[in-house]
Symmetry: C2
Subunit: 167 residues, 2 copies
């Protein structure tokens, strides 16, 4: 059984962010929910001033109408000025790239950023769009029917679990 | 002086396409103008049945209003069914990634593809969005104020030229 230690992988990701963006003024945007947890940790560990922007891309994903998601209203919120900024978009798992495309479009609805980098805890491959992360915590290969899910316990510790996808 | 032989680089790109997408039914979309020339060559060399789709992303680029482009009407045209298809998006030079983001959005306006791969003749770095090509003819580094331009002569041979970017 593959053990993925989320806290160890996160520390690697944070270190990569420190090295890659040294001297840069980053603004963080997390994809609901796991990406927001990670962005909040990066805000603290990289001492980033601006509040974390939150994106909920459920409505923007191109398969929204196929996914059977409840249209619960969890509006996105970015409290800083996106125009001209260097954004680090944060998500837990990178797979097809469709969430990232949706997230980019949502960011551009707020303004034209100077640059958007992508940080993901796990890159599990399976890309369906020409999307790539700038920094990655860990790259793994998994059967297509296995989902990796980031969870956060009552002590704010992160854990990765695997579950069978679908029905 | 760096010599970039466009025909040699193209042959490398075509070989990469053959190896990477063996057994796949690809549909080609070229970005006006250089990407369309390259896509037409790939159509012939990879024996792809469907006509090449043509994208003109001038109107979609996020800096359209800053670029001073004339709003000449060169409408995009994709004559095959995008929904469910495996698209190879072709462009001559990959730089910031903004053209690719615009091209993806335009493709999705036609339907939801199963997959979009990106083929570029030249990856010159300088990414401002988390975009990556699936296959690349050549990767080069250039000063930011130097543009690489693909041209096609009267004998349909491809050439790469470098020019100072406009002020």
């Amino acid at each position: 059984m593959l053990e993925l230690d989320a806290e160890t992988i996160y520390r690697h990701l944070a270190q990569r962010a420190r090295e890659t963006f040294v001297g840069e003024t980053l603004k963080l945007v997390g994809v609901h929910t796991g990406g927001v947890w990670l962005a909040e940790r990066l805000k603290r560990d990289l001492k980033i001033a601006d509040p974390v922007g939150i994106l909920d891309v459920s409505f923007y994903r191109d398969d929204f109408d196929q996914s059977g998601l409840k249209p619960a209203v969890r509006p996105s919120q970015i409290a800083f000025d996106v125009a001209g900024s260097h954004i680090l978009l944060v998500d837990d798992v990178l797979n097809t790239g469709r969430t990232v495309r949706a997230a980019m479009n949502e960011i551009f609805d707020y303004g034209r950023p100077a640059r958007v980098d992508l940080a993901v805890l796990i890159d599990r491959g399976g890309r369906e769009l020409p999307i790539a992360a700038s920094i990655v915590g860990a790259t793994i290969e998994l059967p297509a029917d296995v989902a990796v899910v980031l969870v956060r316990d009552d002590d704010a510790q992160l854990h990765l679990t695997m579950e069978k996808r679908g029905d």
